[in-house]
């Protein structure tokens, strides 16, 4: 038994060594959960990969595998990339967390970057984007522009990431419009265009004239366009083809600056394990152009808020804030800590309905 183990370890190290010697280019691997043609989450990661190639030209070689199932398949794909001599591997779905940690333990000299997870190691960093910062701006525009005072929200799954977005949008919509009401529909999918279209239509029929979405397809945009006086925001990618109406702005996942910086760090030998949670400031969350459908003063306020958030002057979760059950959460002037935000599983006071369990 020990002999086989020895062989395996030796072979793994050997494989690693040959990989490391044989190349002068830095090899970067990407593991995608969806197809690159999904127009949303995976699409944006792949755009960032292309930007990386653009930036470094001949100095990097990138490889990717798309539609990799979470679980043993992802573990195999990561191992294969490491064996083939990758220096840095980005694993771009929450479900890759444990596989990434497992593979990283076998390849101490390969750096791993896991998106949206919370487990780290000496050679595993995590990174995620503060999308809730963008949600604050959306909430502001939505609250200012709604006439029916009903804002529809299409959620994917009831997880902290999505709940955080709902809370952030709600706080800022309520600030400019105390009568605003949120209607939330959980689609139980990240990507199912037909279902997302249905959800959007239902919200519109129930009186919503703003649709916010935390699912990846453009289906809700098309539904809003057909309905007429409804505004939407692009999600994950810019969805500019629906501007100026219904899409009045967007939250864009811009991974390129981070991918370029981390690859540079590997090239320079300065890479260390970190936990990055970047927002508008460092450019990980992009705010798509605010279209002319938005009144000038609202646009100006939104841009001012964007600058304040980017500079760190303003935090979207600033007290006084209470939880839905009326209990105190943040005192006057207090801002939320990252730990609470990361595990957020409660609504802010004023939101109706329960988070499904």
């Amino acid at each position: 038994m020990t002999f086989t183990k020895l062989m395996a370890t030796a072979a793994l190290t050997l494989g690693l060594a040959t990989g490391a010697f044989a190349q002068e280019k830095t090899k970067v691997g990407f593991v995608y959960v969806g197809p690159v043609g999904d127009g949303g989450w995976t699409y944006e990661h792949n755009q960032a990969r292309l930007a990386l190639e653009e930036e470094f030209g001949d100095q990097v070689e990138t490889v990717f595998v798309e539609s990799v199932a979470e679980g043993p398949d992802s573990e195999r794909v990561m191992t294969q990339m490491a064996l083939d001599g990758a220096d840095l591997i980005f694993t771009t779905s929450f479900g890759y967390m444990d596989p990434t940690i497992n593979v990283a333990a076998k390849f101490p000299d390969v750096k791993f970057e896991h998106a949206t997870g919370y487990k780290r190691a000496d050679n595993v960093s995590t990174y995620s984007a503060r999308f809730y910062e963008g949600r604050a701006i959306q909430g502001h525009i939505a609250g200012s522009m709604t006439e029916s005072n009903i804002i529809g929200y299409i959620g994917s799954f009831p997880i902290p990431e999505v709940i955080r977005g709902i809370n952030s949008a709600y706080i800022h919509a309520k600030k400019v419009n105390p009568d605003v009401e949120f209607k939330i529909i959980w689609a139980y999918t990240w990507f199912d265009p037909a279902k997302e279209a249905d959800a959007a239509k239902v919200l519109i029929e129930q009186g919503a004239d703003v649709i916010l979405q935390h699912t990846d397809s453009t289906a809700p945009q098309a539904a809003a366009q057909e309905a007429g006086d409804v505004i939407t925001f692009g999600q994950a990618s810019d969805m500019i083809q629906y501007a100026p109406m219904p899409r009045v702005s967007s939250i864009i996942d811009d991974w390129a600056p981070y991918y370029i910086a981390r690859t540079k760090a590997v090239m320079d030998g300065t890479w260390t394990s970190t936990d990055t949670w970047d927002g508008i400031g460092p450019g990980m969350v992009g705010i798509g152009e605010i279209s002319d459908a938005v009144p000038a003063e609202v646009k100006a306020e939104a841009l001012a808020m964007k600058d304040a958030i980017a500079s760190g002057e303003y935090h979207p979760f600033t007290g006084p804030l209470k939880k839905q059950d009326g209990s105190d959460w943040l005192a006057e002037g207090e801002t939320a800590d990252d730990g609470t935000l990361a595990g957020m599983n409660f609504y802010i006071e004023g939101l109706t309905g329960e988070i499904p369990q």
Binding site: E66, A69, P72, D98, I159, I163
Partner: protein
């Protein structure tokens, strides 16, 4: 004019030759496809078929073939017993999910207790989960004559929804920061279906698959029940006269296939996958149907077919990464392989006759 004449006996030579022919044809047409997509066809085919077996890192991929192939073989073996008797369980995906949920739930109920009996208990619960789920179409068929193809298929969707409910609710990891998914059983020693020999890919699911193949082989060739299965499939009327109890046979076949699918799910969740998540099932239950037919419903054939299918998955991922082939091209390639295998099988049971059709 070409016509088909049924052979009095299936041709042994053809049964062996057609799979090889099919693989060859797939290489040719797949190569053409890759060439159209702008890749070197020879390189692509070599990457898919050669690299995992004999390439530089074969020491890693060969064990992975076991990991990927074992659930396929385990499920397909059970299905094939039923298919031979004309009993169509196509809901193995659902039974696989239920086996995993039952198995994982059994372990998580006792977390963090470490005890030797936890893993055996999981095996029992996992098998039971699949068995019970398959008994629904079985009992309905026996009792009401309901079509088992459709009931078992419907139950896949029910199981998928149940899985989603479990990973967001009851089985959600309380320390997982609210993310969907259960605790990772790989980090729970008593429940972990670890490799028996490190680096070999051999986990208990692989052992179970091997046992299933041997068991099925003996059953089909040596046992009375196996005889009943074959007769029922080939000549249902003769079987009835021969004293075969159809109800018992239906329950046996559906039950066995459910049991094996449930076990496959349980071994997967306790080992390679580790946790119950929203997307835990990756289609093994459906792919296994394909594997069963590729293996011509024969135990040894299924073993080989499971290996071949696993090879195209592993090789396909390598080709994506090394050559930049899109995942869709690999899917089309697998589809082709399947079509050729299915289409050429006609030569085993029929003879091609060229020339003018005789006037009957």
């Amino acid at each position: 004019m070409i016509r088909l004449d049924k052979r009095p006996q299936p041709s042994r030579a053809m049964a062996l030759a057609t799979p090889l022919l099919a693989v060859l044809a797939t290489m040719v047409f797949g190569g053409l496809l890759f060439a159209v997509l702008g890749e070197d066809p020879v390189q692509s085919i070599l990457t898919i078929f050669w690299q995992p077996l004999f390439g530089e890192f074969a020491f890693y991929y060969r064990p992975q073939l076991l990991v990927k192939g074992a659930p396929l073989v385990l499920i397909a073996m059970g299905l094939a017993l039923g298919f031979r008797a004309g009993i169509w369980n196509i809901g193995a995906e659902g039974q696989y999910i239920m086996g995993a949920i039952f198995g994982a739930a059994a372990a998580l109920a006792f977390y963090p207790l470490e005890a030797w009996w936890i893993f055996p208990l999981m095996v029992i619960c996992g098998g039971l989960g699949g068995l019970l789920w398959a008994m629904i179409p079985g009992l309905l068929k026996v009792k009401f004559g309901t079509n088992e193809i459709l009931v078992s298929l419907m139950l896949v969707y029910v199981a998928e929804q149940f899985l989603s409910s479990m990973s967001l609710g009851l089985l959600k990891n309380p320390e997982g920061f609210g993310f969907p998914g259960s605790r990772n059983l790989q980090q729970y020693a008593s429940a972990h279906n670890a490799e028996i020999i490190t680096g070999s890919g051999m986990h208990w699911g692989v052992v179970a698959a091997m046992i299933a193949v041997i068991f099925a082989y003996v059953l089909l060739t040596r046992h009375r029940l196996g005889f009943a299965i074959r007769v029922t499939g080939e000549a249902p009327r003769a079987a009835k006269f021969g004293g075969v109890n159809p109800a018992r046979l239906i329950l046996f076949c559906l039950g066995t296939s459910g049991l094996l699918a449930g076990l496959a799910g349980m071994f997967e969740v306790a080992g390679p996958a580790g946790q119950i998540t929203l997307d835990f099932n990756v289609g093994y239950g459906f792919t296994a149907i394909i594997v069963a037919f590729l293996g011509r419903l024969h135990p040894v054939g299924i073993l080989l077919a499971g290996g071949l299918m696993a090879l195209t998955y592993i090789g396909g991922d390598i080709a994506q990464s090394q050559l930049g082939l899109p995942a869709a091209a690999i899917q089309v390639f697998q589809g082709m392989l399947l079509f050729f295998l299915l289409a050429l099988d006609v030569l085993t049971n029929y003879r091609l006759r060229f020339g003018a059709a005789e006037v009957a």
